[in-house]
Amino acid sequence: MDPLLLAVYILIFPGFLFLLTYAFFLQYLDRKIAARMQQRVGPPLLQPFADFIKMLGKEVIDPAGVDRVAFDAAPLIAFAAVMTSFLYIPVVGKSPFAFQGDLVLVLYLLTLPTIALFLLGWFSRNIFATVGGVRAVTMLFIYEVPFFLALLMPALMAGSWSISEIAAWQMEHTWFAILQPIGLVVGLIGLQAKLERQPFDIPEAETELVAGPWTELTGRRLALMHLTMHVMLVAGSGLIAALFLGGPLLPWTISPAWLSGIVGFALFLGKTLAILLVLASIKVATGRIRIDQLNDIGWKYLASATILQVAIVLIMGSWWVSG
């Protein structure tokens, strides 16, 4: 690919500029949907963006005894990680950066914000932040294994470690949502937990821990961490859309190429919005569960369901090969 085009891809579309715009838009939509379901008015369109700008301008307060460099770096690393992860997710067609193993890279990059949150909580020297950080990392150990297993199953069946190729495989056969429905459900639950949304907002439980690891974050650090979460919502739903719902690809070719691009983009938007709607509904319909209850549910049900899915995939795979 032309270097100029690559630069455009990374910086403008569907890279950073589009990503940030879409992240703010999804955030607006998420808040608006939740508000309407709860019989509230909800925010205006530009509210998430306005919040971001406002927080950037606020004073940055260093808690006493905090390692400033680490405290500044953690949100930046988390933000950089999720921004990078989006480059490998197919938006208008296959991603130009796709390679064998980008699925593993994306999963790794999407884990970094949780680690950053844990570190922030630990660095804060504040009891609420510390407890929240420990909860964040405890929760990571609960949902991450089923989440990874569920998201790696499409790779196993498609015989490729590249997200774009997995999406393309589904065009020749059928959506993994149909082949692996348990994996899709576990993936959505895992994403909800990753984003720390209800019922998994355990680390930042407002009424218990003030804001958990976020307690001592101020100004641009807080703005960046919020933005990280917004972007992670886009990257996560884009990932699920690509792995289970065929991403932006179509089973038949459309000419000319630009029309095919537009249709693919529309598919990406439609699928991520549908995933957002599911996530928002979960958020509105549940309260917060306790960390020990999540432990029970996670290991008893989520993990067993995923193992079951793995077994099914392996059996289907051998049947596929022999058949």
Binding site: Q39, I127, T207, V284, A285, R288, D292
Partner: protein, 393 residues
Amino acid sequence: MVETILPIGPQHPALKEPVNFKVIVDGETIVGLELDVSYTHRGIEKAAEQRDFIRVVPLLERVCGICSHAHAQAFCTGIEEVMQLEVPPRAQYIRTIVAELERMHSHILWLGVAAHEVGFNTLFMWTWRDRETTQDILEEMTGNRMNYGINEVGGVRRDLTAGQISSILSRLPKLEEQIGKYVGMVKGEETMLLRFRGIGKLSKAEALKYGTVGPTARASGVDYDIRRDDPYIAYSEIPWKVVTDTNGDVYGRTLVRIRELQESLGIIRYCLEHLPEGPIGVQAPKVAPKAEIFSRYEAPRGELVHFMRTNGTDRVERLDIRTPTLANWTSVTVSLVNQHIADIPVIVAAIDPCLSCTSRITILNEQGREKARMTLEQLSEYGRKYSRERGRC
């Protein structure tokens, strides 16, 4: 693991009013609790001694924002007994309607707060929307959404017109339907059940031992309600049932409050349909004879007690208010032990604490007898000194 002290309050998002818990935790489990409730001393008891019976009622309404009618009514009932006034039945019925509307708005508010404490904001929003119905009715009846100002010694200050009665009656079915929805949500919503069931257990013996009152006691199976056991205003004439539950946990307290909502709705409907004709008050004498009286009232949160001593003048010589929250506090320290950090907010919220109403000051000597009084200057100086010393350690 090492035991850590988790300070909650006096400023904390879970708290609506200042209180300080020092929760001693081992990992996520609570092993002990220290409690400091007195942050907002307002000197209302002292102020009440300096106002005559007409001006003291509005003051007492301001003891608590939510049970404002409860305090005014408890005081009026007591003083009317001292003066041996025969209050007309129409006034008593109107007082009962306001009292039950107050109970309803308090319980609906509580349900929303409890849902918010476990992060279930949808129920929080929905209940607070429906609470507006009771607030609208109260505003239509009394002119105010809070601190209704409808009571005075000898009767009520505003009558109900036929138009108001039919307007209130027409709004009740919608409210009843919504309350029915909450029953379904509380009994069927899985995350709420996970967070409410088996949390903050209090056995019947413990509930009696720690002197709990109101829904907290009734949820532990203590069959005790002042409205039935020592009836005041119009309760002896109205058919209704005391709600009890045997769960003894937060879930039980929720069920008791929701079913009390349904009972209250029945009482309001009965009162509106059977409102007696007649005057709404009698002229009360300016002075009350020398007496000591103990007035009990079933506030939304439990038994409220006003003790008053009159001395033949137009004001009380001593007024002592024991709010239901004070009676329930000790049970919280017991029901919190061995629970998780995550359950602190909901267990505390389950007694529906109203903290600023509980703050009292007594200066004791070594023998435990009251020894001195403080002026306002001394009190604020003491407060500053106390905060400074606490800040250092």
